[in-house]
Chain length 433, copies 2
């Protein structure tokens, strides 16, 4: 080989190595490998309009605030973090739930600052924003809901949001949900949306939802904001009880890092504009709504900080559903299980460890463990037909099912989680600085 060719070849090697070095050192926030291919084509929800703006709260030159306007008569239900240190916007929303639905309503959400642990100033910020939205849309202040996500403990520069409210009020459009989904992202690597429709006789009811959240994700709930809209007509109490019940097997069944945010907010608005009345026992609607909720919940896990594997932990045969859930969460939250998954290591011993420490009932010699269809352990030991290659092959997949049967009852629970990788450390060791 000539010297020129050699130089060329070496330079090429150098470029490749540099790229790998950068990747190894920075773990740049590329789109999560588990992300859906595209954002769904969300239906228009009659009775709801959306706008987004660049308020410069923390991020420069990107959408960071969204406004939803809801027609008079819209029922609004909510589920919130149970944190003892919840944020000012959460406390404000909780106080407003169940208020008279005859007037119009609004939801304003910002990214970049969570207005949490901001003392009396935090309440002042909420008041300033809700007053201004109420004025701009001519609705009562107690029908204006807000949510904030981002850094905790720094004063929310609410003036920057207030300065954008007239602009947003003037640009509200029925098909603005995707933009709204973009605006509420923080460390999310993709915008999250989900939809469903339900035929009811000759009419169709639509459901569309957006969400954000990738760290501090755990039951009760997560650093998660989710806003779901439907044109169904649902009484306030029915809407609330459906939402609360369906949250248990969707948003409260996902976990990224066992941490619970001070700001988690899930709001469901039913405008009633379709004219189709839905009662809380309506199975078709419940199924569709749960589908949207579970889809958004799974997307949150798929965007788990640093996640490379999407994992269902499926526990059966427990003494009760509660026991099953305790075991499932112990497995899903175990750093040792999560790092083994990251390393594509079929380390079922760590699953045994997690079951053992969960505190719920288990008998060592009655439980069985499967990775997908691969029976790994039973009768208190590795299964005689198990071959390590089978386990190792299975672990290479992007989507995994870890199934545990405890053999002591009928209790079941599924929990969804992701692996624990260098990416998680990278994102969270550097988040604020």
């Amino acid at each position: 080989m000539g010297k020129n060719a050699k130089i060329k070849k070496l330079k090429k090697k150098l470029r490749k190595l540099k790229a790998r070095l950068v990747a190894a050192q920075t773990h740049t926030h590329a789109i999560a490998p588990l992300a859906p291919k595209t954002f769904p084509d969300l239906p228009v929800i009659a009775g709801a309009r959306f706008a987004a703006a660049k308020a410069g709260i923390k991020y420069a030159d990107r959408l960071d605030v969204m406004l939803a306007e809801l027609q008079p008569g819209t029922s609004i239900a909510g589920v919130f973090t149970r944190s003892a240190t919840r944020s000012a916007p959460v406390l404000d929303c909780q106080a407003k739930l169940g208020s008279d639905t005859s007037e119009g309503a609004a939801i304003l959400v910002n990214a970049g600052n969570s207005n949490a642990f901001t003392g009396a100033a935090g309440d002042g910020s909420v008041d300033a924003i809700t007053s201004e939205v109420a004025r701009a849309l001519s609705i009562p202040k107690n029908r204006v809901y807000t949510a904030s996500t981002g850094v905790i403990g720094e004063p929310l520069p609410h003036d920057r949001i207030v300065a954008r409210i007239d602009e947003m009020a003037g640009t509200l459009v029925p098909d603005g949900l995707e933009q709204a989904a973009q605006a509420i992202r923080t460390t999310d690597t993709f915008a999250k949306g989900a939809k469903a429709e339900v035929k009811m006789g000759d009419r169709t009811v639509h459901i569309a939802g957006i969400g954000k959240g990738s760290g501090m994700i755990a039951p009760d709930m997560a650093t998660m904001l989710v806003f779901i809209f439907t044109d169904a007509k649902v009484a306030q109490d029915d809407l609330q009880s459906m939402l609360s019940e369906l949250t248990e097997t969707s948003f409260n069944s996902i976990t990224v890092d066992s941490d619970t945010s001070t700001s988690d907010t899930l709001l469901l608005a039913a405008t009633g504009a379709s004219g189709v009345e839905v009662k809380k026992g309506n199975q078709a609607f419940r199924t569709a709504l749960h589908g949207v909720m579970l889809d958004l919940a799974h997307q949150v896990v798929r965007d788990g900080e640093g996640a490379t594997k999407f994992v269902e932990v499926r526990v059966t045969g427990a003494r009760s559903d509660t026991d099953a859930r305790t075991h499932a969460l112990a497995i899903a939250n175990s750093p040792l299980v999560k790092t083994a998954i990251a390393g594509e290591d079929p380390n079922w011993g760590r699953v045994v460890m997690a079951i053992g420490k969960s505190g719920a009932y288990a008998e060592r010699d009655k439980l069985s463990i499967r990775f997908g269809d691969v029976l790994v352990a039973e009768d208190g030991w590795v299964s005689p037909q198990y071959r390590e290659e089978d386990g190792a092959d299975y672990m290479k997949r992007d989507e995994l099912v870890i199934a545990v049967d405890l053999g002591v009852g009928d209790g079941t629970s599924s929990v969804w989680t992701c692996d624990l990788t260098h990416g998680y450390i990278q994102i969270n060791a550097d988040y604020r600085s």
Copy 2:
């Protein structure tokens, strides 16, 4: 520059980059930065002798098994993992505790395989080992305690251990504790030892202990093996009650990753060879014993997988000690708090989050947070005198105190932990393969 020079230069660059890439990718297991400078000079404990050997259980050509021989009359107390899937050696030890102390006793420990979740074969391995030790030392089998640490769910090749027992029985020495500490290491980056002496009148009682454990460390208990020896004469019941009580504020107050092993074993042997009788209320002895236990517990945290910071979480002003402990553990186990510490980020908002999610009582506006002496937050907000530079400066230290006063009572608790780093992921994503 000539082409030869250019090629030389490019090749040099390539070598450098390759080295950096390897460093970025491998995080080799160097000695933990928080390790003590040296192994302590442990005193001889009259009535106890030690040996170690290379059994080749998992590791090639290193000490991986230890034997302790204890003179007739030695009392032995123990505390074990509360895991529902605890290992065969743990179950065997628990069954033997409190047996007649008139005969000699022994402790045999191996590293590399935990003999956990190994079904009936696991019990067989324990039986084979304890029978052989009993024969070699002419003591009853129910006075032979074993502990195993390492991979879960693989059959223990006990023949390799049995083959070394005569060799160890023939090489027992009074000053063999340091070698024993070497033999029981798994992912530990340094051997752990601690000592104390207590003057009682004109006589001195000695305490010496060794331990291992760096991952799966959490209360109740840890992937932790600890063996403490004293020449004090203590009745079996007194020894057990002291050990159980002092465990709460030592080994049960440390956490690395919230995971609990199936094998945790803490044994305390009192040979009585000093002739000094100690009752359980003896404060001087309790203090000395607790000191040894806390020292070993801290060393385990200092060797936490990937740890670069040693952190005390000190909670005061809780409604009860139990509440304080719940808050302290929530903070110490939070992946978001632990990654912030790794990133030297004074992110007290995550501390607020952890308090909020713990489930124990807190009032947002009454709690205060200090990083060392730096008052960070009070009255539900960042303290007016707090400057981010002060927090950031403090976080650069190797040893940190995160102090939270809840302002709602007199309950206190301290918990020790470490940060969560790339090193932890590296070690645990690759452990078994």
